[in-house]
């Protein structure tokens, strides 16, 4: 059934419907929001889309999204250049930064190895990681997700790096802080037991 909204409004609804997590009703609501804002605000929204597309690229070093390459973290003299934390996505990097605990550098893979989905090591930023591993690098922390793909990726990269004599570590898995042992899945509990430390 053809949309009962005017063509240009229908076109906007359809653009919003393409977005992740936006169904038809949400798309209609968003399109009506656009109808209701001032021309200037609509222009700002459209410009933000185009600006982000044109100015965001990958940092030549860590492959994180950035407006200027090398990125703010890679060019920050206060960061420890001896440690590289490897994550799957820019969102993981942001989550890590929010802890304010980590002071080293990052490397964003933009994915994880997944033969099932046709993602091989060449499809993610493994080559770029290897080319960064100069003599100043002492440790590479694998902070890929605790999924089959994340684990496989961590293992794959560990095998490549080990022969270079660089320490390679994996972040700990276990019961989340505030989590309930009763409701933890078996894998998480097994990992928590395995990773136990003396207190």
């Amino acid at each position: 059934m053809a949309s009962m909204y005017p063509p240009s409004l229908t076109a906007l609804i359809e653009e919003f419907e393409k977005m992740p997590g936006i169904g038809h009703k949400s798309a209609v609501r968003l399109a009506f929001y656009v109808m209701g804002i001032t021309d200037e605000k609509a222009r700002r929204l459209a410009d933000a889309v185009l600006n982000a597309k044109s100015s965001i690229r990958l940092c030549e070093s860590c492959q994180n999204l950035t407006d200027s390459s090398p990125c703010g973290i890679c060019s920050d003299p206060r960061r420890d250049r001896g440690v590289i934390c490897v994550v799957e996505s820019p969102k993981d990097l942001v989550a890590m930064e929010k802890t304010r605990e980590y002071k080293g550098l990052y490397h964003v893979l933009h994915g994880a190895i997944s033969p099932m989905d046709g993602v091989s090591p060449e499809d993610i930023k493994v080559k770029e990681l290897m080319s960064r591993l100069g003599p100043e690098v002492e440790e590479v922390i694998m902070a890929t997700n605790p999924t089959v793909e994340g684990e496989a990726t961590a293992m794959y990269i560990a095998r490549l790096i080990k022969p270079m004599g660089i320490k390679i570590t994996r972040i700990a898995h276990g019961i989340p802080v505030g989590g309930d042992i009763e409701f933890a899945d078996e894998m998480t509990l097994a990992r928590a037991m395995e990773g136990r430390r003396e207190i």
Copy 2:
């Protein structure tokens, strides 16, 4: 805390966060969606926003959103010009059209009278409705929402129109089709009893 994303990405996230029903996490997800689509598709999204803003206006007759005035419904010779169904919003009109039952014209008020929210009759399209009520109009159907504001608006407009000798009706309220009497609220049930018909 400043965003940990590059400025132009942060700007895009902030634009999405202004949208109704879009929280921070959804805004980040949408911004990453934009990062992931082609330049051409991003351009199409931005253009859809600007196009909809520039080409959508209100139909000079029924006040519905349209690309061309008078709108498709008002200029359709098959529609019955003797009946005008008054709704609060373009979305209500679309809901009504989907029933495929109604063959008359519409009038979109763009709101409902609400002294509490400072919405007076002059703030909605009442004047425009009154100016349409020529001799060909036989019935005005008030299809405003069954809320305090919707009822007040229906009553206000009914009082204006009654002296003109035009039939004015209100859509029926009652138990929704497929609804459960057990769970109906008292107001709805009272309305359903009041509106009962012989079978």
